[in-house]
Symmetry: C2
């Protein structure tokens, strides 16, 4: 019986205990894909991330996806590319939630930029969440399987979206570390004639809940709570697959130009989701001191 | 962003949301056993209880376990029987956590009492948590299967204990509704010569955390929070199986003399457990107002 429960202390204890009991200090590695049952039991149900080797070795993409192949198959295709001054698409900049400038260009030109043959201002990234692999890149969709079989069987559903990502070394995907949250007016980057970027507010859009901390350069003076955060780090090599459970914040950067395919599976709104919502509701009080968990209302991902 | 989070309100919201999104208002019913994968995905991972028909239809016990069979096979066997004045074994009475008086008697005499042929003071119940089916009743263990196959496969382990329960109509198993908790000095019932029962304190035992509310007759004046509790009710008929997930409080009573076999499977100390611990830590502040969840550090049960 705790007579004076300290919310912040309780949340810190949650993080420490979850780490000690089940999450550990790193992301475990499987040398081969799990059975659907083992995937469900050991990773999905306890909501633990895992890196899996040899899950996509049979994909033609692994050997086929080179820039010369892309030039041949997609070179003249007009595609949508996200452009930012700093690599951060969908991130808080000062007091706005800033989305990338979206430009249409031939894929061949995007490849020139990725390969450094052309050096315009900004960072270029093909990144969408709208199942663009099938809709925008049907020419290369046959190079992969359109689901992760053991994941679909375990989760009892097909992927909700399959996305193709390709970016330069300094492209960074949207991320969402856990505290603090804020509501930010949406905006987009727009390149000026001088090559710099303006932040153009989207006046009529609703505010977006997002996390203002850059996990690579956290402002601990402004957000001291982030010093208590316990991120897990892992590196993914070519051919490896990450299972990212629902309700985990994540942040992705790349050691060099990279391609990824991710599969979103709809999450279940089960007791874990409700517990996460509880944490969210309590965060108003605790965000100055809480260290902890693990979450965004995001979906399961294999990338 | 909630500026003044109200802990009690947040916990009530958790209960309401969990009920709306995933738990519902009753215990669902399956007409046949699920596959291991479906059991894991639909019930274990989301921590939802379910009643299953036709899971133990092949057990000889279903037709074989009659009082005349028990008299023949076990009649002269000395067994341990829990005796209480009121049917409540392992429950808070006034300011003690009171355990039953344990008496040794021939099983045949216990059957006489269950059948009303003998009417001594008190309520008699064969109830143990120490895997008594195999240790105390090996003569009838072959009448059941010693695991629930699809549950063992799903959970990746064998049962930790298999217990045989047999009691009169007014026997009630230990229960643990969720709030409030207290620490109680252990005691045992001991029959006096006049047929009444004394509560004999176990002075040297450590205090036990337990819930003082009787869910059948809650003292809402003393524990107003219990009025917000949202129990799920279900009836189990002969041959049916209940999956009771870990971290659920439960309370069992019987419409008439009943026999049950339960299988405890060790729980996983995963994120759900850690969230439950968070609730427990927060309960000091919120126990006067919280409605909610769902739990005891108990194991998975099929009974």
């Amino acid at each position: 019986m705790q007579r004076e429960p300290d919310l912040a202390r309780a949340l810190r204890a949650l993080a420490v205990e979850a780490r000690d009991l089940s999450l550990g200090n790193g992301v475990p590695h499987l040398t081969r894909p799990p059975s659907p049952l083992a995937f469900l039991r050991d990773w999905v149900s306890p909501n633990r991330p895992v890196v899996i080797s040899d899950a996509i070795s049979h994909w033609p993409a692994l050997s086929r996806w080179t820039t010369s192949y892309f030039r041949e198959v997609l070179g003249k295709k007009e595609v949508t590319v996200a452009v930012t001054p700093n690599g951060y698409a969908d991130a808080v900049f000062e007091d706005h939630f800033v989305m990338p400038e979206e430009r249409t260009m031939p894929f061949g030109r995007f490849l020139d930029i990725v390969e450094g043959k052309e050096k315009p201002p900004g960072v270029f990234y093909v990144q969408k969440q709208c199942s663009n692999l099938c809709s925008e890149f049907p020419e290369i969709a046959a190079d992969v399987e359109l689901e992760i079989g053991w994941a679909s069987e375990a989760l009892g559903k097909k992927p909700d979206a399959i996305n193709f990502w390709m970016g330069e070394e300094n492209a960074v995907t949207s991320y969402r570390p856990f505290v603090p949250y804020g509501l930010y007016q949406p905006a987009v980057y727009r390149e000026r004639e001088d090559g710099g970027f303006d932040v153009v507010e989207q006046t009529f859009s609703a505010k977006v809940p997002w996390i203002p901390v850059d996990p690579l350069h956290p402002d601990l003076h402004r957000y001291p709570c982030f010093g208590d955060a316990c991120p897990l780090h892992c590196s993914l090599h070519a051919g490896e697959t990450l299972y990212l459970p629902s309700l985990w914040f994540h942040h992705v950067r790349q050691s060099h130009g990279c391609i990824a395919v991710n599969f979103w599976y709809d999450m279940e709104y089960d007791i874990k989701y409700s517990y996460f919502q509880l944490l969210d509701r309590l965060s108003g009080d605790a965000s100055d001191a809480a260290c902890g968990a693990i979450g965004s209302p995001f979906e399961s991902e294999a990338a």
